[in-house]
Chain length 369, copies 2
Amino acid sequence: MTETPQYTPLIRSLPASVPFVGPETQERSRGAPFTARLGANESLFGPSPRAIAAMEAAARSVWMYGDPEVHELRAALAAHHGVSPDHIVVGEGIDGLLGYLVRLMIIPGDVVVTSDGAYPTFNFHVTGHGGVLHKVPYRGDHEDPEALLATAAGVRPKLLYIANPDNPMGSHHPGATIAAMLDRLPQGTLLVLDEAYVDLAPPGTAADIAADDPRVIRLRTFSKGYGLAGLRVGYAIAAPGLISAFNKVRNHFGVGRIAQAGALAALQDQAWLDQVRAEVTTARTHLAAIAVANGLRPLPSATNFVTMDCGRDGDFARAVLRELVARGIFVRMPFVAPHDRCIRVSCGDAAALGAFATALPLALAAARG
Amino acid sequence: MTETPQYTPLIRSLPASVPFVGPETQERSRGAPFTARLGANESLFGPSPRAIAAMEAAARSVWMYGDPEVHELRAALAAHHGVSPDHIVVGEGIDGLLGYLVRLMIIPGDVVVTSDGAYPTFNFHVTGHGGVLHKVPYRGDHEDPEALLATAAGVRPKLLYIANPDNPMGSHHPGATIAAMLDRLPQGTLLVLDEAYVDLAPPGTAADIAADDPRVIRLRTFSKGYGLAGLRVGYAIAAPGLISAFNKVRNHFGVGRIAQAGALAALQDQAWLDQVRAEVTTARTHLAAIAVANGLRPLPSATNFVTMDCGRDGDFARAVLRELVARGIFVRMPFVAPHDRCIRVSCGDAAALGAFATALPLALAAARG
C-alpha cells in the first residue's frame, strides 16, 4: 500500500533536525526571558535609525509585493562594491542563498568540502540535497586553507566552503590568503566564501577577487554589522552566469518590501556601520577583560563575538553554558571538539555585558561543582 | 575540461525564466510609474492599522532574528482554525511553501497534476525539481474536479493541485465539492489545496477537512485579504507528519521578526478583514459595472479581482492589456487559451477604479484599431 504523502527517498533519509534552537524556544522552556541575548551574534547596537525609518515607511506600503528583481538594492550594492547589478543576487539571508546555491550544484552523492565545526546551516543544505560532506579539521583556532585545498585536490568537490572571518572561533585570514586559494582549486570546484562577518573585521580581510571570476561566490549579509538579523536579507557576489542561475530556483518574491527598503537605507548609512564597528571593538575589549578576570582565555576576534576558551573539556564548557543560560544569559558554543572547550559570547551594550560579567563567575563556580 | 561551476543536469535543463514580471520592471521600462496598480491582486485597502503598528514596533527590534519556530503566530493560527500548532507551518508566502512541498515529494520524472492555466509559480517549482506536469483543461471558467480526478486516476500523481477560489478566473467551487475529492484520490496522491483567496470568498468555500487527514495540505496567505503581500507570510495546514517534514528542508529563520509580528497582529484584527471583505464586494460590483459599460463581460468572482472577458481572442485581449499599461494601468491577464480572451483586474479603491474606468474605453478603442 502506498503511503500518503510520498516523500522522495532522500527526504525519507533525512532527520527532522534543525540547525539551531532559537533563544525563544529556550525562554519558553525555562519559563522566563533572557536578561542578556548574547548567543546569536545579533547586533545589540541595532540598525541605523534611517533603516528603522525606512522600514516604518515601508510598513505602510507593504500591501504591495516587493520588486522581484530587487532592482534598487542591487543597484546600490553594485555601486558599493564597484561591480554591476548582474553580479549580485539578493536572497532571504545567507541561509536562503546557501540553500539555493546547493540546489543549483548538488545531487545525491556529490562531494562538498568544509571545515569540521564550521557553519551548520551550510551542512544542513548540503545534506538536504544528498551531498557528501568532507570535513577538514581546523588548524588551531583557524580554518585551514592548506588542508582544505589538499582535501579538495583529493576528492574534487563541487563546492569548497570557507568562512572568513570564521564562526564560531572568530579567527580570520588576510583576504590575500583567501584570494590565493583560487588558483589552487581543482578544476570545477566553486569556492563558497562566506563573508558574513567581514564588515567587522580588520581592513584587508575582505578578499580582493574579480567579480567575474567564475571560481568563487562571496556571501554577505545585513544581519551582522548592519544589525538587521530579523529582516532576512543577504546577498551574493559572483560572475553573472552564476548569479542568473539563481533565477531558475529562487523564490522570486521572497525578499519583501520592508526587507528591501530597510537594507537599502542601512547600506546608505555607512556612518552608522562605522559607529557599530567602534562599539564592537569596545565590546570585544570588554568581553576579553571579563574572560581574563575569570580565568578564561579570550580568542582574538575579527567578528562581533568573542570565543572564550574555558580551559577544560567540552563537558565543562557545556556545563558553563548551561549555568549561564540558567542565570538568564543566552550564549552558544562550538559544536565539535576541540572547539567545544569554548563558549561564544556576542558583543553587546554595557547592560548586557554587565549582566554577563555578573553571571559568569557564578556559572563557572557552579560548573566546577 | 570541467566547467565551473558544475550545475546539476536538471538545473542545466531549466530555462532562466521567472513566473511573473513585476510592475516595477514595467515601470522602469516605460519610464513612468503606474497610476493604478491593479495587476497583482494586492489589497489596495491595505493591512490592519494594528498590523502596521506591530510592524513599526518590530522594526525597532529587528536586530534580533525571528523565532525559528514561529511559536506565537502558529499558536494564534491554530486557535483561529481550531487545530493544534503541530498542524501548521509558516513560510515565506505560499510561494515559499509550495517550493518546500515540491522538494519534499518530487524528483525527476515524478508526476503532478494541475489545471492548464492555473498558478504558474507552482509549475515553476514542479519543473524546477524535474516533475512532469499533466495539465487538465478548465471546464468553462472553473477548474474541473472531475477531470482532475480522472487524469489523476490514470497517471497516479504524487501531487494534485487545485486552487479554490481559482486564479486567474476568479471562480470557485463549494468547499464540499473539494472535500469530496479526497475519497476519490488515487492511493498516494496528495491534494494541494491552494486557498489563497478563500478569505474573500462566499461562506462555505473553505473546505471542511479534518486537520489530521494525510491526503491533503491546505495553503493560506496573509498576502490577499490581510493586505500584507510585501511581508511574505503564508502558512499551510496539514497532518503533523507532513508539517514536521518541512523542518527537513525549510529556511528555519526565513520568516523574519517583522513578518511574524505583522501577521500576528493582522490575524488578531478580524474586524479589519471583515471591512476589507465589504470593500472588496463593493469594488467587485464597481469593476463589473465598468466592464459592462464598456461591452466586456465580467466573470463572477470569489476573489479580490474581476476577470473580464474581452469577447475576442487572446491577441485582442493582449492588445487591450498593452493599451491599458501604456495608459498607466497595471493589470495582468490569463496566460493560456481560451482564458487569454480575458483581462484580470484587481479590486481597488475609488481612485484606482476611476483611473481604470477612464483608461478602459480608450484602451479598447486603441486595441480595436
